[in-house]
Symmetry: C2
Subunit: 316 residues, 2 copies
């Protein structure tokens, strides 16, 4: 059991690179970015920031990296566009912000945070969300900036494959297309919890498809008991209200965080669809959980001393 | 306690007309449409239909009526556009479909049902959802068709008011602007549960704003224990995962449906924001719950014999 006084835990998605593609250089690059993400989250807390600040800072680092499927490096939809979703929530106030289907906002998590703080609403989508971003003076960038050669190649592969086989039998290839969603949870020195998630969604997704990442209760949830960020096959996480379900099993079922997280990932999701994904979570007492049914999940945490731990494969 | 063998329960939203506006003609019109909605749901079940068919049929009647804030007669956003959201879910399979921000699909609930049945995804938004609708051959209509004089007037009133007072102090005027979301839950002869919800959202909403109606777990949820459809101040229903929370309190807390529904509407939502809304729900044994913290909620249910019961005010 991981137990910290305060800090941040992150994931960079399930569907880690298979061993033959995970070169020493690639692994070093992933570890460097995960460490930078945790460092940014830790710095936000050390400056007296709110758990929400730590979550946002940690996620922005992964959004700006082309390695992860969020912000720059997002998966591309069937039209070849990066369309991005994000959400963030405060466990202290239950305030939340979410955006879906944005195409030109550099850091979708920052926009979700602005919806939380500067809008009477909780969720904005599409061109309306982008108009809000402009009114707020958020940094925008052409859609081309988000697209990388790696994701163009992945889209072409998905198109070739999806045209020949139905989605139901794609198995772990599909899991890989959903890879790389990023998320963070934090507990600050004042005992406040927060969670956030950001994604480009799945490769070759239908125009307009939204997964669990921007759905409060599915991809992200923070309440009095715990903060949770999920990654995986979004449709299954939505239909099981996965992030909120961890909280509900603690609040109504008397479960500890680790029990609740394992029940959601293994007893519920893994039995419905094998290797469907994972989550990171932290409870109000500082217990950290990093739980997944896949061969790996990019993940790590930083404690109150700034000590950073990183993991990728299941047995790391 | 209402107990039926099989049937349908519906709501036409909280924020019922104040007594001085509820003329005998208006009340007769509301009752006629509610009865037609329940009749359509009952007919779907009598033809051997799935609970999902009954939910869809009941909601389509209310969408087609200009009286309710869904489909024709939807509230208008800050631009004067009708932008509509809907969701539907099967308690038997946990399959679900949702659409948000659609502007030209005559029956958003029918499109949500098609996302459930004909898409590998669970949720589609905006122009992408509309492109999917065209590929599916769904009936489309210009946005003007959805707009009614009553809603144009309501938008003008909201604009005049919102420009002079902050949203936090608007109290029950805001509740009225959120009025009229429609929803249905059903239990069919095979014991299958389903839930669905459809809305035009709140008057003068920010372009792109999405409330709880299309969010599985917030506005709609159906699982093994019960099916739930919510109406009210959407942001609060999302942050409490209201529809799923009824299910969770039954599954993990051992609550009966009526206890779980009252805890969510009164202990959770009403204490966070007074008169925040209501819900209709049915459990696997046929208990029906119609629960709200507002002065009224358009509502009704039909049992296995086709007996229809309608209510509007709290004391009806």
């Amino acid at each position: 059991v991981i137990h910290i006084r305060n800090g941040v835990a992150i994931h960079g998605g399930v569907g880690t690179l298979p061993p033959d593609q995970m070169t020493a250089e690639m692994e070093a690059a992933y570890r460097e970015t995960l460490a930078a993400s945790l460092g940014a989250g830790r710095a936000a807390l050390d400056e007296g920031g709110h758990a929400l600040d730590a979550v946002q800072a940690a996620i922005e680092v992964m959004e700006d990296s082309p390695l992860f499927n969020a912000g720059r490096g997002s998966n591309l939809d069937e039209r070849g566009w990066a369309t991005m979703d994000a959400s963030v929530m405060s466990g202290e106030t239950l305030e939340a912000g979410a955006v879906a289907g944005v195409t030109d906002v550099r850091n979708p998590i920052a926009l979700a945070r602005l919806v939380l703080g500067a809008s009477p609403h909780l969720m904005l989508i599409g061109a309306g969300a982008e108009a809000f971003a402009r009114r707020q003076g958020v940094e925008v960038t052409p859609n081309e900036w988000f697209r990388t050669e790696r994701r163009e190649r992945q889209l072409a592969e998905a198109k070739a494959r999806d045209s020949s086989r139905p989605a139901e039998v794609l198995g772990d290839t599909v899991a890989r297309d959903k890879a790389g969603t990023v998320g963070a949870v934090a507990l600050d020195a004042e005992g406040r919890l927060a969670a956030g998630t950001s994604t480009g969604g799945m490769a070759n997704k239908t125009w307009g498809r939204v997964g669990d990442s921007p759905i409060i209760g599915a991809g992200s949830y923070a309440g009095a008991r715990c903060a949770v960020s999920c990654t995986g096959w979004g449709e299954y996480f939505i239909r099981n209200a996965a992030a909120y379900d961890v909280h509900a099993r603690m609040a109504y079922g008397g479960r500890r965080l680790s029990e609740a997280a394992h029940e959601v990932i293994f007893d519920t999701l893994h039995t419905q669809i094998p290797e469907s994904g994972g989550l990171v979570a932290i409870d109000a007492e500082g217990h950290v959980e990093l739980c997944f049914s896949t061969p790996g999940m990019y993940r790590g945490w930083v404690d109150e001393h700034g000590d950073i731990q990183l993991r990728i494969a299941r047995d790391d």
